[in-house]
Amino acid sequence: MTWLTWRQLRAQAVTVFGALVGLAVALAVTGPRLAHLADIAGDDFLNLAGANRADSWTYDVGCVVVLALPAVIGMFWGAPLVARELEAGTHQLVWQQSVTRTRWLATKLALTGLAAMVAAAAAGLAMTWWCGPVDQAVSATHGGAGPLSTARMTPVVFDARGVVAIGYAAFAFALGVTVGAFVRRTVPAMAVTLALFVAVQIAVPLTVRTHLVPPRRDTVTITPSSLEGFRGTGPPSGGGHIDALIVALDHPGAWLLSARTIGADGRVVTNLSSTLAVCLPPPDGRPSPERAEAYRRTCDAEIAKHGYRQRFTYEPAGHYWPLQGAETGLFLTLAAALAGLSLWRIRRLS
C-alpha cells in the first residue's frame, strides 16, 4: 500500500514540493540580507525593507503560498483520492486486491496526510524564519505604514506563518477526501472542497479564534498624546456629534479586537461631549508652541472632567504561540474527525 500511495501521489507531490523548493530558494537568498538590514537600519528597517521591491515581493509571495497551500492540497491531493477512483471505476480493481477498503484508505490518509503536513510545516516555518527580523521590529515599535509592518497576530498574516498551516493542510486534505467520497466526481469535489475550505479560512479568524485563547481587556486613561482622533458624524459646530475617541493601544504587535470609549460610570458612551472639540488640531494650522500647549491642557482637562477612558479588547503579541498551538490542535482534531467520516463512508460505497 505504501508503494501504491506514493506512486499515485507522485505527480501532485512533485508539483507542490517543487514549488516549495522554489520558495525556499527565494527565502534563503533574501533572508540573510534582510537580517543584515535589520541590524544596520535601526528604526527605519520596516520602511526600508518595505521599499525594497525584492523583499516586499518575497514577503507577499511567501504569505500567499502558505495561505494557498492547504487549499491546493485539499483540491489536488484530497478531493481526487477517492473521487477519481470512483469516477474511473478503478476502485473495482484496487478494492478487489487482498487489502480491505478500510486499510487502503487508512494508509492513503496517513501517508498523504503526513506529506501534506510536512509541506505546510516547511512553508510555515520557512516564512517564520524569514520574517523573524520583521516580526521583531513590528513588536518593538509602534509599527509603521509599510507593507511589511502588519503584526503577525492580525488575521490574514496569522495564517501565513508559524505552525497553524500544518493544521489547515491536514484539515483541507481530509476535507477533500471526505467530499470526494460523498460527491463521487473529481471536479465537483474539488470545487466543493475549495468553497468549504475558503469559507472556513474566513470564518475561523472572525468567529472562532478569539475563543481559543481569551483576549485581554484593558481600560486605560486617555492622554492628549495617546489620542489620535475622533469618530463621529461631523464637526460639533455643524451639529454633528462625537461617537468615540480613537486612542493608540500601547501594545505593539497586538491584534486589536475592539476599542470603546467609556465614561466615568464605566459604561460605553456613544455621544461624547462636544466640548472635546478643543482636542482637535487648531484651525489656524501651525499654532505657536504656547498656544499648542494651551490647547493640550484644555483638552486634558476636558477628558479628565468627563472621566473618559478607553477600553481595549485585544490579543497581545504574547498570545501568538498559544493561539497558533490551539488553532493547530483544533484543525488536527477536525481533520481526524473527517478522516473517520471518510472511513465510515467508504465502507458503504458500492
Partner: protein, 297 residues
C-alpha cells in the same frame, strides 16, 4: 466441501426496482459456472454481491463459506474482474504488476510476467496507451496472478478478439485444472460457456430461471416432435418450455426428470444453446412456474 456460492432468498433493490430478487442457489466449489441472461437480468448485480462490492437488500450470500468482502482473507480468496476491466490509465503495465504483487500475499509473479510477455504487452507502456482488449487482458492477468481460490468474471471476454478469447479461456482452464480454481463468469457467448463451464445459471427478469449442472440439464431437457397435439395433455412431470405447431406436427421443448415413453414422440437431445434460448425466449411466465424451474439441480 464448502460451496463456491450459496445464496438464500438473495435480493438487491435499487430505489424501487429489484435488480435481483429471491435468488436461491447452491454451487459446489471447484465448479466453473456460466451465468447467462438478457441485458439487465441481474447478472452483474449477482456477481457484485458475490464479491462484496454490493450488499444484499434481502437474504444472504456466502462465497467459499465466507461473507463477500468481509475482510482481507476473503478478498484474497476471491478475485474479481469487473465488466469494464478498469485499470489505471496513468500507470504502466509494470506498475500494475507491482500493484498486484504489493497488495496480494499469494501473487504469482512468474505467471503474471509470462502472460504479459505472451500477450506482447510492453511493460513500460501506460495503460492509457493500450487497446480495449489489451486493457482487459491486463485486468484479467491481475485477476489470475492473484491466485484466488475463486475467480469472478463479469463478461471477461466481451472485448477480446476470437483468438484472444480462446487463449484466455484456455489459460483459465489451466488454472482450474492445476490449482482447482473455481470460476463464476457471465457471458453472452454460449459457445464459450459450453466449452468451459460445468455449471449454468440462467437469470431472467431479476430471477433465477434455471440453474444446475450442465450435463444434468442437458439430460433432462428434450425436444419432442410428433403428430400435432395439445401440450396440456402431456404427463404432469413434463414441463413445456416452448411449443410450436404446424398443421400436422407439434414440436415441444420439455424438461422432465423422467424417461419419455410415449412412442408417438421423436425425442432428440438439446444442445446448450438451444436450452438457453428456450428459456430466454419464453414469454414472461407468472412467478409460480419459475420457482418450480428454479428448484432444478
Amino acid at each position: 466441501m464448502t460451496a463456491l456460492l450459496r445464496a438464500r432468498g438473495l435480493g438487491k433493490r435499487y430505489r424501487r426496482r429489484w435488480a435481483l430478487s429471491d435468488c436461491t442457489l447452491d454451487v459446489p466449489a471447484g465448479s466453473v459456472v456460466g451465468l447467462v441472461g438478457p441485458n439487465a437480468a441481474g447478472k452483474s448485480t449477482l456477481l457484485n454481491l458475490a464479491v462484496g462490492t454490493l450488499t444484499p437488500t434481502a437474504g444472504e450470500i456466502e462465497v467459499l463459506g465466507g461473507r463477500p468482502g468481509s475482510g482481507a482473507a476473503q478478498l484474497a480468496r476471491v478475485g474479481f474482474v469487473a465488466q469494464a476491466s478498469p485499470v489505471y490509465p496513468r500507470l504502466s503495465v509494470a506498475d500494475h504488476l507491482r500493484l498486484g504483487a504489493r497488495l496480494n500475499p499469494g501473487w504469482d509473479d512468474a505467471l503474471a510476467r509470462d502472460r504479459i510477455r505472451r500477450l506482447g504487452l510492453d511493460a513500460n507502456s501506460r495503460a492509457s496507451a493500450l487497446s480495449g482488449g489489451q486493457r482487459a487482458q491486463l485486468a484479467l492477468t491481475l485477476g489470475l496472478a492473484k491466485r484466488p481460490a475463486a475467480l469472478v468474471l463479469d463478461e471477461p471476454v466481451a472485448s477480446l478478439d476470437p483468438l484472444a478469447r480462446r487463449a484466455f479461456l484456455q489459460d483459465l482452464m489451466e488454472a482450474v485444472a492445476e490449482h482447482g480454481l473455481s470460476v463464476l463468469m457471465s457471458s453472452h457467448l454460449i459457445s464459450d460457456l459450453e466449452r468451459t463451464c460445468d455449471h449454468l445459471v440462467v437469470l431472467i427478469g431479476a430471477q433465477v430461471a434455471v440453474a444446475g449442472d450442465i450435463e444434468h440439464l442437458l439430460a433432462t431437457h428434450h425436444r419432442l416432435s410428433g403428430p400435432r397435439r395439445d401440450p396440456a395433455t402431456l404427463p404432469a412431470n413434463q414441463h413445456v418450455l416452448s411449443a410450436s405447431h404446424t398443421e400436422r406436427q407439434s414440436t415441444l421443448l420439455v424438461r422432465t426428470e423422467q424417461p419419455i415413453h410415449d412412442p408417438s414422440w421423436t425425442v432428440t437431445p438439446l444442445n446448450l444453446e438451444d436450452l438457453v434460448l428456450a428459456y430466454l425466449s419464453r414469454p414472461p411466465a407468472e412467478d409460480g412456474s419459475r420457482r418450480v424451474l428454479a428448484a432444478v439441480r
